[in-house]
């Protein structure tokens, strides 16, 4: 898998709600399609996404086969302290792709 794309602000005011965007390259093969040889193409999707802040998970998604290739996930988080975001994508083979982003609280 490629390096996931992230858009996380570097700084935020205390109590500010920020928007986090993520995009990862993945075929998201649904398992319902037939290949050129007429045989079913085995399912191969990212089935789980998690987002943690300072080690504590605050957002997650169980992803199902209807999601398109290259899943784009956008969500909000309220920032109260400096810290590190950890993002993890798990696919059907059990491969976990990880990414990290840091954020600091700026004086209001």
């Amino acid at each position: 898998m490629s390096v996931p794309r992230l858009r996380v602000p570097k700084t935020a005011k205390k109590g500010e709600v920020i928007t986090i965007k993520s995009l990862i390259e993945h075929p998201m093969e649904s398992g319902f399609r037939k290949g050129p040889d007429g045989k079913m193409v085995p399912r191969m999707i990212i089935n789980k996404f998690t987002a943690s802040f300072n080690g504590k998970q605050f957002f997650g998604a169980n992803i199902q086969p209807s999601v398109s290739a290259n899943p784009y996930i956008e969500f909000d988080a309220k920032i109260d302290a400096d810290g590190t975001f950890d993002f993890a994508w798990t696919d059907d083979k059990g491969v976990v792709t990880k990414a990290q982003a840091k954020i600091t609280v700026a004086a209001a």
Binding site: S2, K21, F58, V67, S68, A69, N70
Partner: protein
């Protein structure tokens, strides 16, 4: 840290379709003006250059939903940019017996490839025929790098074509059809107006006479190629222009022309000329 709120886990196709269904239909009975895709959005065209078949040129972008347009506009969410990034590293990847990469001859692609994507298909003096951008990349690989050519519609070739054309994003399409190209232009023009297939339809029947109107739930475009290779939400990958032509031909139940055949290249030359003046949008995002 409060719990995050999910805004959208984007199943792009489903999402676009959902948004489309919620918007009240704004179909226009006016022959001249394209119907708006939403109540608030009126397609914006640019005046066509002299000699064009259109009065106003509309990019296919103008007929897409707000979600699809937003997806193309933001490089972060545009899935075609993944291919641009992939080809960026491929640019300096040494391949073939000559021990060269693309970067050996064309050092900084942002400068050396700037504007290149606007004028393909282009006349090749050695071969004495027009070559498409895909063919030119393969000519470079076989002649200069002594590497194996990439297969048409392969990930490598489509990524590289997208990358080269991306360097011209925003520049107007400027395909030359004078001199020796005029034979190919005339051939492409006759093919464009030639009815084919069991449905007995020509390109012009949809893309000249009825652009901006509905074909089932979708809006017909002018059939411009300024966004190719384009990311199709339907196929979930980048589609080269000749592959798209084959799709159209199959839909009218005709036997599609072979890739890089004389007919196909003539049609590509003529169709590209019809979009002269439109800005290159590669990588575009379409349904």
């Amino acid at each position: 840290m409060s719990a995050g709120r999910i805004k959208q886990v984007l199943s792009a196709l489903g999402f676009a379709a959902m948004a489309f269904a919620m918007v009240p239909a704004a179909a226009s009975a006016d022959d001249a003006k394209p119907a708006a895709t939403e109540a608030a959005y009126v397609p914006k065209g640019i005046p066509a250059p002299a000699g064009s078949v259109f009065k106003t040129l509309f990019s296919g972008y103008q007929f897409r939903s707000a979600d699809t347009r937003a997806m193309q506009d933001d490089d972060f969410s545009n899935p075609g940019m993944l291919s641009v990034e992939a080809a960026t590293s491929e640019w300096s990847h040494v391949d073939g017996e000559a021990g060269k990469s693309c970067a050996s001859c064309h050092a900084d692609p942002a400068k050396t490839m700037h504007g290149v994507g606007t004028h393909y298909p282009r006349w090749n003096k050695v071969l004495e025929r027009p070559v498409t951008l895909e063919q030119q990349i393969n000519l470079c690989r076989t002649n200069n790098m002594k590497a194996k050519p990439w297969a048409f519609n392969s990930e490598n070739l489509t990524n590289m074509t997208t990358f080269v054309r991306y360097q011209s994003r925003g520049l107007p399409v400027a395909v030359k059809v004078d001199g020796p190209m005029s034979v190919w232009f005339d051939k492409g023009k006759s093919l464009y107006y030639q009815r084919i297939g069991q449905l007995d339809m020509a390109c012009s029947n949809c893309h000249e006479k009825y652009y901006g109107k509905h074909i089932r739930a979708d809006l017909l475009s002018q059939g411009q190629t300024n966004d190719f290779p384009t990311y199709r939400l339907k196929s979930q990958h980048l589609v080269p222009v000749e592959k798209r032509f084959q799709g159209c031909m199959a839909k009218v139940r005709a036997k599609p022309y072979k890739i890089f055949s004389d007919n196909m290249i003539a049609l590509e030359v003529y169709t590209a000329w019809r979009g002269n003046g439109l800005p290159v949008e590669t990588p575009g995002v379409r349904n």
